[in-house]
């Protein structure tokens, strides 16, 4: 059977890996190529590269780094950040990306999902949603979690999947950076709503949180995290063994 996936996420700004808490207060951590290589050899099942640069120069630097990573690392790579057009898909797929994640670009223009899925296949299009509880409902936020779109999140995700998104990343703003565990209620609501792989993001602080995630929600396909991996609080080989000891199928 398909294994549960462990996915480190690398936020890239000006050619370096950064990770903030609650999406603010970014701090430089490491060199992306070196870090990606370390993760690949330690058993990461996939890597996500997120471009948080706004400038043209930064974007060029990001694609250069992506090409360097993809020429040395042979596991699936997902790329997100600044994806607003089908041409943006083309730009990163040419550098060796396997999947492309859309967020604000799809909120502005949902047809981006449909157009990209028609051109590259559903499996290539990942819908990433930053979600926060507002007035008792799950609300979609845009622009790196800074702007409330007013859209209800479950409806938005269903629409995205109907348009052709082949996978969904759920980033809970409520649990991100707090390290008290994944947002199980939010994740369960998304899993119940769609029949494509769902990736949990936001809140991982310990190995027990990953065990809890996969035990509580058997439909979840992957757990994504950044700082717990970047700062060495969780070593991926240890995490894989811990999951295996809890009868969760992983690649070891």
């Amino acid at each position: 059977m398909i294994t549960k996936r462990i996915i480190p996420c690398l936020d890239i700004k000006n050619g370096r890996v950064v990770k903030g808490t609650n999406f603010q207060g970014l701090s430089d951590v490491s060199d992306p190529v070196a870090l990606a290589s370390l993760y690949s050899t330690s058993g990461a099942d996939e890597l996500v590269f997120y471009d948080i640069t706004a400038s043209f120069e930064g974007r060029k630097l990001f694609t250069d780094i992506l090409c360097r990573v993809a020429s040395q690392i042979f596991i699936p790579l997902t790329v997100g950040g600044g994806i607003n057009t089908v041409e943006d898909f083309d730009r990163v797929l040419k550098c060796g990306a396997d999947k492309v994640s859309v967020n604000s670009g799809a909120i502005r223009n949902p047809m981006l999902i449909r157009d990209a899925a028609r051109k590259y296949g559903n499996q290539c299009v990942v819908l990433s949603a930053d979600i926060k509880r507002v007035d008792g409902e799950f609300r979609v936020f845009a622009k790196g979690g800074r702007e409330d779109t007013g859209m209800e999140a479950i409806g938005w995700i269903k629409q995205g999947v109907a348009l052709g998104a082949g996978e969904v990343v759920v980033n809970s703003i409520d649990t991100d950076g707090v390290k008290q565990g994944f947002d199980l209620d939010m994740l369960r609501a998304v899993c119940d709503a769609v029949n494509v792989p769902v990736i949990a993001s936001g809140g991982a602080g310990s190995m027990a949180h990953f065990v809890e995630l996969f035990k509580a929600i058997p439909d979840i396909d992957a757990g994504l995290a950044a700082s717990v991996f970047h700062f060495g609080q969780i070593a991926i080989p240890d995490l894989k063994r811990e999951l295996q000891n809890n009868d969760i199928i992983v690649r070891i």
Partner: protein
Amino acid sequence: MIAVIDYGVGNLFSLRSSLEKIGADVTVTSDVSIIESADKLILPGVGAFADAAKKLRDSGLDAVIKEQAAAGKPIMGICLGMQMLFEKSYEYGEHEGLGLLKGSVVPMAGVIPAELKIPHIGWNALRFKRGSNLLRYIKDGDFVYFVHSYYAADCADSVIAAAEYGAELTAAVERGNVCGCQFHPEKSGDVGLAILKAFCEEEKT
């Protein structure tokens, strides 16, 4: 020299990089004379079968590949490229393949339990069916990365490994000088590189 056949289907950056990583002398090409002079051929492919088969036919490379295979040149198909080695595919209609291997490509929908997601995407374990050159550097149970919705069936004489996903899905095939894998060796970490190495090296006798 290993020729990766470029017929306008999909992106070959990772495949080229992975072959370079294992030290293979690789050329990505659609040039008939280069394909004819190559020691071995790799037929890649992603997307829809009918579209890829048409591109291969329109380029005239289908005949070249058949000639080269008939002459005994080792050829490896990857993902959709593996599916094209078979006689036909039932992906949206009925389409003719290269016919280098016996069998046909069929949808997994209706074969696997309804609660399993399609495509079959992610890391899954290989279950060896018999010994082979292609998988000689890896072991039964090793994980590789799959992305597909159709699989090769009625190919008992060539299957060397399967993956369990509600049913046994053909994962790798080998018969004489023709072999292939449904999964992506160029995205399967060290296991995938070891498979590519086994193909690119001189075969065990």
